[in-house]
Structure formats: C-alpha cells, structure tokens
C-alpha cells in the first residue's frame, strides 16, 4: 500500500495510486506555471480532506482553529508551490505535515500566552502597559494597555477608530467577548442569515485587528 495521495487519508494502490500521483504532479506543475485557476483546484481538491484528517488527529483541538490552520496551509501552498518537493512525499502528506506543524505552533503560542498571563500579577500588568509593548504585541495588549498609555498616545489610538469601531475593539480585546451575536447586535446586522452574520463580524474584527497592528509601531516608537 502506498501513502495516501489525498489529504483525507483515502488509501489507493496500483493503477489508481499512479493516476492520483499523476493528477497531483499535474496540479503542482500548474501551480508552478502560474495557472490562475490552479489555486482554486488545489483548495477544492485538498482542503476538505485536510480539515477532516487534521481534526481526526487532533480531536481536542478547537475545530475553528483546525480549519483556519488547514486553510492557511492550502492558501500558502497555492502561493508558494515551490516549497513542496514532490520527490519527498505526496501533496496530501505534505499539506498534513505542514498543517500539523502549524497547529502545534499555535498550541505552543497559546500555552505561552496563558502561562505569561498567569505569571503576571496586577502590578506587573500595569508595568507592561508602560509603553513597553513587545515587537509581537498582540492587539489586545495595545488597547488593554490604554490605562497607563500616555494620554496623547491613547488619543492617537482612539482617533484611528470611529465610535462604533472603538466599541467593537473594546469588546474584542478588553472584555474578550467571543459571542458573535453581541457583535452582530452592535453592528446592527442581526437580521442577516447566521453564516453571513458570522462572516461579517469576522471581517470587521479582522479589519480592526489589522489597524491595531499598524498602530503598534507608532505606540512603541513614541514610548
């Protein structure tokens, strides 16, 4: 039996396996050649099996995180097909290994963050807020640090958002609200179908997170 070619773990052998390998080589060649439709074919063919396989091997992981990691690996492979070496493994195996590594890194990062938060007493947290944000500052640290930021800097951060956006930022990073419905109410999009509502909330949060990250260097350099 040969290692599976598709991400889902379906095992093929003999002629079928060779056909799969050939299809995989063709798709990889199209990606390398810059065929504009190849990334779409890659996602359509490999994303769903990869999510299933990754979820199966990480049963306790947050399904949303699993899907995000799998999606990012597929998108990154579409953008950088040269990173995949066909002579070393099947494409499905490569995607799974890459996603597994990224998922592991996400777990490590989350546990480091949790440990850091646990180890800080309130006095240390106040010290962190003293315009000494780290290079990898999370947007949460930026706004949560507002209590002791210089008023001028706080005003600059605040000025980058309108009133509604600022409320969303505070819900996101100060109150750590996860419930999509809370954001939907605030944004006035409760009437949308659930999937669309969820997408819209995510889009707004991603946009605000990006803007917070762009502000981070200014806060640090002004500190």
């Amino acid at each position: 039996m040969e290692e599976d070619t598709l991400g889902g773990g379906a095992v093929a052998s003999g002629a079928a396996a060779e056909r799969l390998r050939e299809a995989e080589r063709t798709l990889h060649a199209r990606l390398l050649a810059g065929d504009p439709t190849a990334p779409s074919d890659l996602a359509a063919e490999y994303l769903a099996p990869l999510v299933v396989r990754l979820a199966r091997s990480n049963r306790h992981a947050d399904p949303h995180l699993v899907e995000t990691v799998a999606t990012d690996v597929v998108l990154a492979t579409a953008e950088h097909p040269e990173r995949y070496q066909p002579d070393r493994s099947s494409l499905g195996k490569y995607l799974h290994m890459a996603a597994r590594g990224d998922l592991r890194n996400a777990f490590k990062s989350a546990s480091r963050r949790a440990a850091r938060e646990r180890s800080m007493d309130p006095v240390e947290l106040v010290a962190l807020e003293g315009n000494s944000l780290q290079d990898d500052a999370d947007p949460a640290e930026i706004v949560a640090a507002r209590g002791s930021l210089d008023p001028a800097l706080l005003a600059a951060v605040r000025a980058a958002f309108d009133a509604q956006e600022w409320q969303v930022v505070q819900l996101m990073v100060v109150d750590d609200v996860r419930d999509t419905n809370v954001y939907a109410r605030l944004l006035g999009i409760e009437h949308l179908p659930p999937e669309q509502r969820k997408r819209e909330v995510k889009r707004v949060k991603d946009r605000l997170n990006k803007r917070l990250r762009r502000l981070a260097p200014r806060i640090r350099s002004d500190g």
């Binding site: 990012d72 579409a78 000025a159």
Partner: protein, 118 residues
C-alpha cells in the same frame, strides 16, 4: 459543507492579495452585493463563486492580464471581456479606498497634540 468550507477559505484568501477574493470581496462589499448578487454581476453560477474567488489574481501586465482573465473565464464559463471589466472596476475602487484610508490616517496623525521634550 464543502461549499461552506470553500466560502470561508475564500473569505480568508481575501486577506492575501494573491487571490481574486482580495479584489472581488471588498468590491462586493463596497457595491453592497451579497454572494448571489456578486455571482450575477460576474455572470457565474452562485455555486461556482467560492472557487472563482480562490483563483489567482490575473497578472497586471497587459498581455498577461488578458491571458489570465481568458483562462479563468474559460474555466468558469464566463465572458472574458465582462470579467476583465469587473476586475478593473474592483481594482479602481480598491485604489481609491487605499488612498482614502492613507489620507484619513495622515489626518489623524496631524490631529495628535505635540509631545513635549521633557
């Protein structure tokens, strides 16, 4: 379910300029189009929209742009000139939006009170 997964992937791809989603989804929002309306605007079947969004952006050079648009159009059964027009409109809107955001941030910076040298 696979369709939903690809639609969410397209949403994520919109954060990467490499993908068509990065041009077409902001365009749809700016124009107030939901998925069905965007698909109609592009002339594609609604169920094909996610896959279309996951295509690579056509390269910007004139000859390459036409070739890429024709390949995408052929794969999805679209009219290439119409797709090219929508993409040009979307790119123009994106350029305007970027310019507006830069101007807005510059204005916000100008409003900052001067910091004393103490």
């Amino acid at each position: 379910m696979a369709d939903d997964l690809l639609r969410r992937a397209a949403e994520r791809a919109a954060e990467r300029p490499f993908f068509l989603a990065a041009t077409l989804l902001p365009y749809a929002r700016a124009e107030g189009l939901d998925d069905a309306a965007l698909a109609a605007r592009l002339g594609c079947a609604p169920e094909a929209l996610s896959r279309l969004l996951l295509c690579r952006q056509p390269r910007p050079e004139p000859g390459a742009f036409r070739d890429d648009v024709e390949r995408i159009a052929a794969a999805f059964g679209l009219a290439a000139p119409h797709l090219a027009n929508v993409l040009r409109q979307a790119r123009a809107l994106a350029t305007i939006a970027e310019a507006e955001e830069s101007a807005w941030l510059a204005a916000a910076r100008d409003r900052e009170p001067p910091v004393s040298d103490e």
